[in-house]
Amino acid sequence: MENSILKVENLNVELDGEKILENLSFEVRGGEVLTILGPNGAGKTVLLKTLLGILPYEGEIKWAPGIKIGYVPQRLPFIKDIPMSVEEFFQLKNVSEKEINPSTRAELGAGLVPHRNEVSGAGEILKSIGLGKEILKRKIGELSSGQFQRILVGWALVSNPRVLLFDEPLAGIDISGQESVYNLLEKLKREKNFTILLVTHDLSIVYKFATNCLCLNKKILCYSTPKELTTERLSQLYGGKIKFYEHKHE
C-alpha cells in the first residue's frame, strides 16, 4: 500500500507467560490519527512499547523505511525527584547515540534514534509547543502538569519525527491544561501533518481528532472511523463481558 507508515501483522506479545496482545493486524497511513481505546489492562501501553521496539514480540511490525518516531510516555513520576532544569532534560536526548550502530538502528524499526546534526533548534521546538525560552532555566519539578506534558511533547519533537506515539497525553492534567495540550496536538497535526498514534480514555478526543480508532482488549475488537464507533461497541469494549483468554503452558 502506498503511503503506508506502519503495518502490523499477527502481532503477539507475551510477558511473564501471560498473553497481553493476540493476533493484532492493522495498518496506519501517513497523516492518520489512530486512537487506541480500551479498558485498563487491555494492552494499550504494551502495544505502543512493542511498536517502539522495547518489548519482545512475535509477528511482524513494519515501519516505513527510515521513518522517525517520537514517543511521549504516560507519566514520569520520578522526574520531580531529580533537580534538573528543562534545558538539562533536553540535553539528555541523544546521549545514547554513539552506542547505536546502523544495524540496531534498522532493527529498532529505524528512526528511533536521531542524528545529532538533525536536531532542530530549541527555539523552534519551544515555539511549536507554545512555550517561551525562559522556561529552559526553570526546574522540571516546578512546572505545572500541563507545562510538563508540553515539554514531553517537545522532547519527542527534538529528533524531528514524522510519527508521534502518545500514551494518554491528558491523564493527570487539570482541565485547562488538558485543553491546552489538546490544542497543541491539533496544532502539531495541522502544521506538520504528523502521523499520530494515541492511547486515550478521552472519547471527546476520539470524535474531534481521530481519523481511525482501534478498540483493543488483548485482541482487536473493532477497527473503524470514529463515526462508526457506536455506543454499542463502546459498551462491548468497556462494560460488556470481558472474556478470559486461557493460556496453556506446553
Binding site: I69, Y71, F78, P83, Q91
Partner: protein, 254 residues
Amino acid sequence: MNSQFFLSLISGIFIGGVAGYLGSLMLTKRMALVGDALGHVALPGMGLALLFGFNVSIGAFLFLLLGIFLIWLFEIKTSLPMEALVGIVFVASLAIGFLIVPEPELLEALLGDISKVSFEMAITSVIFSLLIFFVIKRIYPKMILTNISEDLAKSEGIKVKKENFIYLLSIAAMVALGVKIVGSLLVGALVIIPAATARNLSKNLKGYSLGSLVLGILSCLFGSLLFKITHLPAGPLIILTSTLLFLISLIFKR
C-alpha cells in the same frame, strides 16, 4: 603535617569526592541506602583481609561481587522487591562477619582506620577513585534518563541492563574503597549525605552532581583535620562533618 597524615588526607579526599558524586546518582535512583547495606556485605571480606594481611579493599570488593551476584540471582528466582533481597544478603553477611572475624579486626572493619594508609594504598585509592569518577561521568546522563523512565531510555536506544551493570560495579568498587576510610558501618553515609545536602542547595543537575562531589571532598577534608586535632576516630568525625553541612544546607534550602 607529617607524611602519614598527608597520605590519609589524600585518600580521604579522593574517595570522599567520588563517593559524593556516585551518591548523587544513587539518590535519584532511590538507592540511597544501598551503599549502607553493601558496606555490611563487605564486612566478612574485610575481616578476612585483616586476618591474613592483604588489602582490605580487595577483600571487601570480592565479597561485594559475591553479594551483588547473590542479589541478582535471588531477583531472578523470586518476585520479592530488590530491597528485601539486599536486606537478606546484608544481614547474613553481617552475621558471617561477626562469626569469623576476631574482635580487634572486627572493630577496625566496622569503623575503618585512615591512620594506617600506606603509600601504595594512597596511590591505589587515587587511581581507583579517578577511574570510578570517569566511568560514572560517562554513564551519568544515561542513568538519569533511565531513572526518569526506563521506557523512554530504551526508546532512545540506551542499553539499560548494560548501564545498570556498570553502575552496580562502580558502586561495589566505591564501597570497597570507602570502607577503608570510614569502615563498613558508616560507608553508606559517605554516599547519602553529600548528595542530600547538594539537593537542598541546587536547582539544576550540574549544580547537584558537582555539589555532591565537592561536599564529599569537604566532609573528608574537615573530618580528617578534626581527627588530627582531637585524635578521636576519623570515620565518625567525617560523617558528623558531613551531617553538619547537611544541617546548614537546610537553612539555605532552595
